[in-house]
Symmetry: C2
Subunit: 146 residues, 2 copies
């Protein structure tokens, strides 16, 4: 899974291990890949999903309406809102055991949600949150107090 590879890439960079990919549904092509860049880019807005969209550059109107957003973790409200803005019809997450973001917003706006409940990715994220780096930066990423 491309999003998983992106999460592992971020982990290898000392970052938050969340990855994402934008997949064009009619062709099955991966149009963009991204990973959380909070640590690497000192960023408040580069989550996996938004980083993937930023890596795409501007696309023709309508392309994102034919895409799925794949992500390793339930998308926060920023990323959920971004899917709603661009009318992305399908959100596939690897898991939501470690965090639940804006799933209520996605559902209310008609975005289909698929949860793969992937045990390997769930364990990776759980272990990272419990790690030294995770304890320092995870709450910052989800807007919570440490």
């Amino acid at each position: 899974m491309v999003a998983h590879e992106q999460a592992l890439k971020s982990l290898g960079e000392g970052g938050i291990p969340i990855g994402a990919a934008v997949v064009h549904l009619p062709s099955g092509k991966v149009l963009a890949r991204g990973h959380n860049q909070r640590v690497q880019m000192n960023s408040n807005i580069r989550h996996g999903e938004t980083d993937a969209l930023e890596n795409m550059g501007r696309v023709s109107e309508g392309v994102l309406r034919e895409c799925a957003m794949f992500t390793t973790l339930s998308p926060c409200y920023m990323c959920s809102g971004t899917c709603v803005l661009y009318k992305i019809p399908l959100l596939v997450m690897a898991e939501n055991d470690n965090f639940i973001g804006g799933e209520d917003l996605l559902a209310a706006k008609g975005v289909e949600i698929v949860n793969l409940r992937d045990p390997e990715i769930t364990k990776m994220m759980r272990d990272w949150i419990a790690s030294d780096v995770g304890q320092r930066v995870w709450n910052e990423d989800i807007g919570e107090m440490s």
Copy 2:
């Protein structure tokens, strides 16, 4: 108004004239300024609000809970979701005559909304949407088809 200055700055760069500022409520200090960078940075995610947050760099947990987001236009779902993520308690917009974004989400999550109904900014945005550049890029910015 700092957000208005930022909108005019973007307009002067050939960009979408939407600006924003993050203001620390206890001190009244402007902590960050930003403007829409779709055209300038070939960006899908740098709206006025998200650009301001990105320009801040990472901030201590809790700072954004004491801030207001000022913006020249009703925030889209991406930007509304970002305010919800970081628990920004107050959103001040100059107008929502030209676009209504995620105000329902903000209200549902307890974010206070103030609409200044500024006639000068409303006219600036309306004139820009009707301009040659506006007709080319405005729908792209709000996720609509041209």
